[in-house]
């Protein structure tokens, strides 16, 4: 196993795909970095997009602090804004499914599937 960086690092990049804001998250989402994700989701919501997708494909580690942000986002985004999460793998989709969050937030294994679901 490669050794981990000393600090938890997280990057969030926003891009627009049609009427959907896609937030591509990379690195670690834990209690230290979850606020970054929360800010990014809030900012995306203000664009009045049709939907917001949080793409966790490049996330190595997702703590319950990050999962809580996803659930809160679903509640706090304007009702007119759809929401979906992309995640696949033992570090992300597995725990999301284990605690039932996958059902709450709309979990998809790939960005293409999430975009298709939101624009259907």
């Amino acid at each position: 196993m490669a050794s981990q960086p000393a600090a938890s690092s997280c990057t969030v990049e926003q891009k627009r795909v049609g009427e959907i804001d896609v937030l591509s998250v990379a690195g670690v989402v834990d209690m230290l970095t979850a606020p970054q994700l929360e800010e990014a989701i809030t900012a995306a919501g203000k664009d009045s997009p049709q939907g917001v997708i949080v793409d966790l494909s490049a996330v190595d580690f997702l703590a319950s602090a990050g999962m809580g942000i996803l659930v809160a986002a679903r509640d706090e985004l304007p009702a007119s804004v759809q929401f979906a999460v992309v995640a696949d793998g033992p570090a992300t989709s597995r725990p999301l499914k284990l605690v039932g969050i996958a059902d709450i937030v709309g979990l998809h294994a790939t960005l293409d599937e999430a975009l298709a679901a939101l624009t259907a």
């Binding site: 196993m1 050794s3 981990q4 960086p5 000393a6 600090a7 938890s8 670690v28 834990d30 209690m31 230290l32 580690f61 997702l62 703590a63 319950s64 602090a65 999962m67 809580g68 793998g89 033992p90 570090a91 597995r94 725990p95 284990l98 605690v99 969050i101």
Partner: protein, 149 residues
């Protein structure tokens, strides 16, 4: 160590007296993940489950253990491997009182740390007393990557 009746059986990973804060939780998580990878042969799912569960225990200590104190107290993370049973046991202890937090603190109820630990570990127990809290996480069928000493 006799605190909470922990037996000394050749403990291999120990982080004692770390301030219970998010930075130390992240640091210890990284060191624990490295130690895990060096000492055991785990598939990606098991490795992920173990590290996440341990993280959640530390996150609870960092977030709730000392909420009424002026500054964070200590947390202790100890991992023990039972060669005969092929069982890995990780305990995370603190001397705080997070289980006695004012019920009006809704955060504790919204948290998913405990359900996550229970889902990720073969056995997860949380024991709280006035002296603090001990979280004990156990995994069976863990294969050591090293020969028995």
């Amino acid at each position: 160590m006799s605190t909470f009746g922990m037996p000394c059986t050749g403990t291999q990973f120990a982080q004692i007296d770390a301030a219970a804060n998010p930075q130390n939780a992240a640091r210890i998580r990284h060191e624990f993940a490295d130690w895990l990878g060096r000492h055991f042969t785990l598939d990606a799912t098991k490795a992920s489950d173990v590290v996440l569960a341990v993280n959640e225990a530390m996150a609870n200590a960092a977030e709730y253990a000392y909420v009424t104190a002026e500054r964070p107290g200590a947390m202790h993370v100890i991992a023990d491997y039972d060669w005969d049973a092929a069982t890995l046991t990780v305990t995370v202890t603190d001397e705080g009182t997070w289980r006695n937090v004012d019920p009006a603190t809704a955060e504790l109820r919204r948290g998913r740390g405990i359900p996550l630990m229970e889902a990720l570990a073969d056995r997860a127990t949380v024991d709280s007393s006035a002296a603090g809290t001990r979280v004990c996480l156990e995994w069976d069928r863990i294969t050591s990557a090293r020969a028995r000493a």
